[in-house]
């Protein structure tokens, strides 16, 4: 084959590839644009102001995942009419939580060399107080009941050369002193009554007690997960004595923890449970689907969590279920994520 002919074939191949590639990108861009266009049959959304913390009427804050111009925006519904019209703010987050007038919003922007992600601390009027860079992909966020402590977890991905690795990194911020614990891995860990240290220890899913010092979190190490009770002032975390506990969430009265329990080793299947911290008795909840979320307590008897929307992998719905294992799950807010009752 002559050089000229080979060059012609190459040029044709480049043009075909460029055409197909452009097609892929345009199609994806169109899909993305479609998600931000208003759709018929979606929930009614109006723009408005939303304040964090207790107000005149109890409300549920969440991130709006229903397709439309308010996609991913922090929104609010009255707790008595969660399926009703929602009010959307201008704040966009990937994960959100708020309590007592302090909000944490994990945001990310796509740059040229990767995503830049921040944990933004919001005041009651959604003004940014501070923001902290995050290395990885946002996963969980929590604020203590008093609004003083904030925690967030992200996945830190590996690199392109050699062996890749994934780990979680959990940070805790004290909004009174603005001191940050970069990673809970710095804490001294006790497991089964003995000091424990490993390179593969990962903390995730912090939930705070009302004393603004005690917290619970999951420690993952050597293929197992443990429920840990930590103390921020002592920089320590101690195993509670229960295994297979992920993404704990402490009840408002501080007596029970809702968590997801892995059903099969190495399979992404979880069931939601509640454990009594006094007796360590575990109760499976009535939700039959796999729950991959850090649940939120709406009150002392009910928890809420997100499940993927049927037929739309990019959206989730908020469901609630009684915390005592009775009843059955109830769809509370379609097209929503990251519930935070106020």
């Amino acid at each position: 084959m002559s050089t000229a002919r080979r060059l012609v074939i190459l040029v044709v191949a480049v043009l075909v590839c460029a055409g197909v590639g452009t097609g892929f990108v345009l199609h994806a861009a169109d899909q993305a644009a479609q998600r931000s266009r208003p759709t018929a049959g979606g929930p009614a959304v109006s723009s408005g102001e939303v304040s964090l913390g207790p107000g005149a009427a109890k409300k549920l804050l969440f991130l709006n995942t229903a397709a439309g111009p308010d996609l991913d925006r922090l929104s609010s519904v009255p707790i008595g009419d969660t399926a009703g019209p929602r009010t959307a703010t201008g704040t966009t987050c990937l994960r959100f939580y708020a309590a007592a007038g302090t909000g944490v919003c994990l945001q990310s922007a796509t740059g040229v060399l990767g995503q830049t992600t921040r944990a933004v601390i919001l005041d009651a009027r959604l003004k940014t107080l501070r923001s902290y860079p995050i290395a990885g992909i946002p996963s969980r966020a929590r604020v203590s009941p008093s609004g003083r402590l904030v925690a967030w977890t992200d996945f830190v991905g590996g690199d392109s050369y050699g062996s890749a690795f994934f780990s979680t990194r959990t940070s805790i911020l004290d909004t009174r002193t603005w001191k940050v614990v970069d990673s809970l891995e710095q804490f001294s860990v006790q497991l089964n009554g003995k000091p424990y240290h490993a390179t593969d220890d990962n903390f995730w899913g912090v939930t705070f007690a009302s004393d603004d010092d005690t917290f619970y979190a999951t420690l993952g190490t050597a293929g197992r997960t443990y429920l840990m009770r930590g103390s921020l002032s002592k920089h320590s975390a101690t195993g509670v004595g229960v295994e297979n506990v992920e993404c704990p969430s402490l009840s408002p009265d501080g007596t029970r923890i809702a968590f997801k329990k892995r059903v099969l080793p190495n399979a992404a299947l979880w069931r939601e449970y509640v454990i009594d911290l006094r007796t360590l008795k575990e109760t499976p909840l009535a939700e039959p689907h796999s729950v991959d979320d850090q649940a939120t307590w709406l009150d002392d008897d009910t928890i809420a969590y997100a499940l993927p929307t049927d037929g739309d992998t990019r959206s989730t719905d908020l469901w609630s279920v009684p915390a005592d294992g009775s009843g059955k799950p109830k769809l509370i807010v379609p097209g929503a994520f990251s519930p935070a009752p106020q």
């Binding site: 190459l10 590839c17 892929f24 994806a28 050369y161 062996s163 994934f166």
Partner: protein, 439 residues
């Protein structure tokens, strides 16, 4: 120096633009293979860069535990390399086996569009690594067979520079796509598939099945894949002959040294983790650390390859490890200077530039052409498996004693191995001159 005078203009052709030098130190085959690697690396690094994000944000998966799998795949890839090398020698068609490897990886990219669970995804990635393992040795063999021994350091340098340029461009392309299309992971995989296919096309069109003997036409202006049929037929090397390679003392020495040094080469992931922990650089810089290494690697690969041709592969190869040792020392010492992360990354990149292409150049000098790919695979596999063992051991040492002692142990180990390698690799004969490429 005559050699130096010739070297200067050719070195500037690393970009692939072609030049008017009278002696082509960098042949069209090398540039073609460099282009194939560049394009293929753009494709695969596009996927690698967005994979964690895709797992978590796109599929809603928990990626913990994925890292262990990845280590296993790397082990598999190292073993497949042996198979690829031997098959290429046996079929006497390096282009075919390398092409199969590239094609296998290219086929995996559109498959990514169809899998949505961790199990099948793992299988696709394993297949991708198998392709990578298959193609490595035949490709390096083609580079060496198309280049005169005194230019091989430069040739491999050019190839590695182009390869690494692809690794840098890939993530940029991926995130540009994600900027244009929110959550457009399918677009990233689709474009990656197109780019990978283009790599295979370039290989098929511009890489000859058997490169022209470099001595016959060093100044060939283009590549002519069809002109290679004139080679006299030789007996097909079998497994026994491949094993007899181990009787070549110089190859044995190289294999042992590469493995020994590999045993004390801390994996990149750990280096970046150590860098972040011990220098306290901000979290947000963590994803950028591999770019630092890659940029230094790609800018120094050609000059250090040329240097290896001039002053000897052994010197440059060992100096590269000295650079790595210096990086360990800096991480242990952690002087409080803002330049520390840059210094460590510069040394880390220099280490790669001084060793990654120089080692196959040295191996090619001592392995007869009929068994070239097998010989390259032997050394490459030994090195990769040694590095894999090092990762396991380093992780265990970190757990048991902490990061400082683990690193100190690696540094002492590296020093001992480097001294041993320096002694074993003493030039018994001039590495470039005597051991020609002919059996």
């Amino acid at each position: 120096m005559y050699l130096a005078d010739r070297a200067a203009p050719a070195a500037q052709k690393a970009g692939g633009a072609g030049g008017s030098a009278k002696v082509r130190a960098v042949t069209g085959v090398v540039l073609a293979l460099g282009a194939v690697s560049l394009v293929t690396d753009v494709s695969s690094e596009m996927v690698t860069a967005v994979l964690p994000l895709y797992l978590v944000a796109g599929l809603g998966m928990n990626p913990l535990g994925f890292g262990t799998l990845d280590g296993v795949y790397n082990g598999v890839s190292a073993l497949v390399q042996l198979v690829g090398g031997h098959l290429a020698d046996r079929a006497r068609n390096h282009k075919l086996i390398a092409g199969l490897g590239y094609a296998l990886s290219a086929v995996c990219k559109p498959l990514l569009l169809t899998v949505h669970a961790l199990g099948p995804l793992g299988a696709v990635l394993a297949l991708d690594r198998t392709g990578k393992g298959l193609r490595t040795s035949p490709r390096d063999a083609l580079i060496s067979m198309s280049t005169a021994p005194e230019y091989r350091g430069r040739a491999f340098g050019v190839h590695r520079a182009m390869d690494t340029a692809g690794a840098v461009l890939g993530p940029v392309a991926a995130f540009l796509i994600l900027r244009a299309a929110t959550d457009g992971y399918n677009a990233v995989f689709g474009v990656s598939a197109c780019v990978a296919a283009l790599g295979v096309v370039v290989l098929v069109l511009f890489v000859p099945s058997r490169p022209k003997p470099y001595a016959a036409s060093p100044a060939a202006p283009g590549v002519d894949p069809d002109g290679a049929a004139a080679e006299p037929p030789k007996a097909r090397p079998d497994l026994r002959q491949a094993l007899s390679l181990l009787r070549i003392p110089r190859l044995r020495a190289l294999a042992v040294c590469a493995a020994l040094l590999g045993l004390t080469t801390v994996s990149d992931a750990f280096v970046y983790l150590l860098l972040q922990r011990r220098t306290g650089i901000g979290e947000q810089w963590f994803p950028l650390l591999p770019f630092g290494t890659a940029v230094v690697f790609l800018s120094l690969a050609v000059p250090l390859g040329v240097l290896a041709d001039r002053i000897g592969r052994r010197t440059v190869f060992l100096a590269g490890h000295a650079g790595l040792l210096a990086a360990y020392a800096l991480l242990l010492w952690t002087p409080s200077t803002p330049a520390l992360p840059y210094l460590v990354l510069a040394l880390h990149g220099t280490f790669y530039a001084a060793t990654d292409g120089v080692l196959p150049a040295a191996v090619a000098d001592v392995v007869p052409e009929a068994l070239r790919a097998s010989g390259l695979a032997l050394v490459g596999t030994g090195q990769a498996l040694a590095r894999f063992c090092c990762s396991l051991a380093f992780g265990a040492a970190w757990t048991a004693w902490g990061d400082g002692p683990a690193l100190a142990g690696s540094a002492v180990g590296l020093l001992c191995c480097a001294v041993a390698a320096g002694t074993v690799l003493r030039p018994t004969a001039r590495p470039n001159a005597t051991t020609g490429a002919r059996p």
